[in-house]
C-alpha cells in the first residue's frame, strides 16, 4: 500500500502524535510522516523513551472526553527495550498507545541480516507473553486490521502493536 494511504488511515482514526526510532521496513513511510504537517513527531533515542513520550497523549484532550492515543514507530529489535515500560507503566496504569513495529527477520534465514533472525522469529511470542494485542498488516487489510487493533486497545486501555513486514508499505 501507499505510504500516504497508511498515514491517512491513522490520522482518520485520530492518531497524529508519534515518537520513535526509525526502521528501514518503512523508510519511505517515515519520510512521508516527518513531512506531514498534520503529524507531530518526536525523534526518540530509545523505544521505551518513545513509548513514554507517546503515552502522554492519553492524558491530554478536552475535559470529559476519553484520552487520546499516541503512536510509537520502531523496529522489532527494540521490543526488548519496551518490556519494563510495558510491565511497570503502560500495562500497570492501563495507558494505551499504538506501536507500529517493523518486522525485521520475518521468516528467518536466509532472509534479512543475522542480527534479526532470532527476534524475527520470536516477535509475536513476546507480545503474546505480555498479553499485548497485535495485528499483522497485509497489503489488503489496512482498515480491518487497524479497526480490530484499535478496538482492542481502547477496550482494554493498553498498548497494541501493528506488525509491518518489509514491502507492505511502499
Amino acid at each position: 500500500m501507499d505510504a500516504h494511504e497508511f498515514w491517512a488511515a491513522l490520522k482518520a482514526r485520530g492518531l497524529n502524535f508519534f515518537s520513535g526510532v526509525p526502521d528501514s521496513t518503512f523508510q519511505g513511510a517515515y519520510n512521508v510522516m516527518v513531512n506531514d504537517p498534520d503529524i507531530r513527531y518526536v525523534p526518540a533515542v530509545r523505544e521505551d523513551v518513545a513509548l513514554g513520550i507517546a503515552s502522554a497523549t492519553y492524558f491530554v484532550g478536552k475535559p470529559g472526553k476519553p484520552g487520546g492515543l499516541g503512536g510509537v514507530i520502531m523496529q522489532n529489535s527494540g521490543v526488548g527495550n519496551l518490556i519494563n515500560s510495558l510491565t511497570s507503566f503502560n500495562l500497570m496504569y492501563k495507558i494505551p498507545a499504538l506501536l507500529v513495529v517493523g518486522w525485521r527477520g520475518y521468516g528467518g534465514p536466509p532472509n534479512d541480516a543475522p542480527e534479526h533472525w532470532i527476534m524475527g522469529a520470536k516477535t509475536p511470542q513476546f507480545f503474546d507473553l505480555l498479553e499485548v494485542p497485535y495485528e499483522i498488516l497485509e497489503p489488503d487489510n489496512l482498515d480491518s486490521a487497524l479497526d480490530r487493533l484499535l478496538a482492542n486497545i481502547k477496550e482494554r486501555s493498553i498498548p497494541g502493536a501493528l506488525l509491518v513486514r518489509a514491502g507492505v508499505i511502499s
Binding site: 523513551v49 500497570m92 495507558i95
Partner: protein
C-alpha cells in the same frame, strides 16, 4: 547539605494548583506523596528512567501547562539520552529537577557514579539553555524562583544528602486512580 525531603518541600512551595508534577519511582514518589498528595502529581511508581520522557510528551502536548519533573541521579543516568532529546525539543514550560544524592537510596543507599561527574554540566553540554547546580537551600530557592518564570527549558541539579525517613508510606492510590485524577488535572 540539603535533605531530599526538604528539597521536595521547597519545590512544592513553588508549584501551583494548575501545575503538573511527575515524580520518579522509589523514595522520591513516596516522599512527594507524604508531603502533598495533589491530583496533579503523577507518581511513576515503576519504570525507572521514564519520568522525564513522559514529562517531555506532556510539555509538548499541553503547552499551556507548567510541567515539573522530579527524578533522582539514578533515574537520570538510566536514560541519559533523554537529556539531549529534551534539549532538542526545548519546551519552555518544562522544569527538570534532579535530586542527586549520589546513591540508590531507595534500594539501600548503594553509591551511584554521579559523584564522579556533574549532571548539570552534562545537561548544559546536551543543550539545556538554562541549568543550575545548587548545594544549599538558599541556592535552591533562588534557582526555583528563576526557573518557574517559564521563559525557557530549565534544569536544576540539587545536591542532596542521604536521609532515609523511617516508615515512610508507599503511595496508597491504585495505579488507575493515579492515572485518572492526573488526566483530570491535565485537562482542567
Amino acid at each position: 547539605m540539603i535533605a531530599r525531603y526538604q528539597a521536595i518541600e521547597q519545590v512544592l512551595s513553588h508549584v501551583q494548583d494548575a501545575d503538573l508534577l511527575i515524580s520518579t519511582t522509589g523514595m522520591i514518589s513516596r516522599e512527594l506523596f507524604t508531603l502533598d498528595d495533589r491530583p496533579g502529581n503523577f507518581y511513576m511508581i515503576g519504570s525507572m528512567g521514564l519520568a522525564s520522557a513522559m514529562s517531555l510528551g506532556l510539555a509538548i502536548q499541553a503547552p499551556h501547562k507548567r510541567v515539573f519533573v522530579l527524578e533522582g541521579d539514578g533515574s537520570a543516568m538510566m536514560n541519559l539520552g533523554t537529556l539531549p532529546l529534551i534539549a532538542s525539543e526545548a519546551p519552555s514550560n518544562l522544569v527538570h529537577i534532579i535530586l542527586d544524592n549520589e546513591a540508590y537510596e531507595s534500594t539501600g543507599g548503594q553509591p551511584s557514579i554521579s559523584s564522579k561527574f556533574d549532571l548539570a554540566q552534562t545537561a548544559a553540554a546536551a543543550g539545556y539553555p538554562w541549568t543550575r547546580r545548587v548545594d544549599d537551600i538558599e541556592e535552591l530557592e533562588a534557582a526555583l524562583s528563576e526557573a518557574k518564570q517559564g521563559s525557557q527549558l530549565s534544569l536544576i541539579l540539587v545536591k542532596c544528602g542521604i536521609a532515609p525517613i523511617e516508615g515512610i508510606p508507599r503511595v496508597s492510590h491504585t495505579p488507575e486512580e493515579i492515572r485518572d485524577r492526573f488526566q483530570e488535572a491535565v485537562q482542567s
